[in-house]
């Protein structure tokens, strides 16, 4: 079983649309993240959820909103998509306290 799974793997959409990316982890971890990786491979943390509570929001536009229905899921909703939102988005989870993170395979978002 995949530890951290995110869907879809590829997402192509037009500017102005609203889209969602789903993430699920079966590791029983307390903390889940969303990262954005740009074309230069730079990984920027977007959100962190710990036991369903948002604890980090790194100057991300409010068009992006995380939704966590339970501890195992952290979905990412994006409204009014812009060209600059094109990137690879990664979901990750960890138990907390500086332990290792487990990543999903990524969602390549292309806004046209």
């Amino acid at each position: 079983d995949t530890a951290v799974s995110q869907t879809p793997k590829y997402l192509v959409t037009q500017m102005g649309n609203d889209k969602s990316i789903k993430c699920e982890q079966n590791l029983g971890h307390d903390t889940m993240y969303w990262y954005k990786q740009d074309s230069k491979k730079f990984l920027k943390i977007m959100f962190s959820y710990n036991n369903k509570e948002l604890i980090i929001n790194e100057t991300v536009p409010n068009r992006f909103s995380p939704k966590s229905p339970d501890k195992a899921h952290l979905n990412l909703h994006i409204n009014s998509l812009e060209l600059g939102d094109s990137a690879v988005y990664f979901c990750a989870s960890l138990q907390g306290g500086g332990t290792e993170a487990f990543f999903g395979q990524g969602t390549r978002l292309t806004v046209v």
Binding site: V4, T31, Y33, Y35, K40, K41, F42, L43, I45, S48, N50, I55, I56, E58, F90, A92, L94, G96, G97, G98, T99, E100, A101, F102, F103, G104, Q105, G106
Partner: protein, 110 residues
């Protein structure tokens, strides 16, 4: 948050050679982690070294940590074409934040 810095940004070697990547950081750490990312895939954890450790081994990987210089290095010995990937260092900040460096792209040619 401040990013770690890896160098070199890119490294190209032949199979069988050793590859060394370096990571510098600016704040104090509890541990430092190294990850690998194959093209089109997610990051995979390789090794974690705690602040009270100076060196750690895992198979062909050797990681060193110098907290006085705020730097770490990852050595891959006897490299293989399958080692071709991007390598990132990462450090926890606070209880739940994991901050990544900019990465080193390693190309191992047969």
């Amino acid at each position: 948050s401040q990013q770690g810095e890896e160098d070199p940004q890119a490294l190209s070697i032949q199979e069988g050679e050793n590859a060394t990547m370096n990571c510098s950081y600016k704040t104090s750490i509890n541990n430092l982690q190294w990850y690998r990312q194959n093209s089109g895939r997610g990051l995979v954890h390789l090794i974690l070294i705690r602040s009270n450790e100076r060196e750690k081994h895992s198979g062909r990987l050797r990681v060193t940590l110098d907290t006085s210089k705020k730097s770490s290095s990852l050595l891959i010995t006897a490299s293989r074409a399958a080692d071709t990937a991007s390598y990132f260092c990462a450090r926890p900040e606070g209880y739940s934040t994991l901050t990544f460096g900019k990465g080193t792209m390693l190309l191992v040619s047969p």
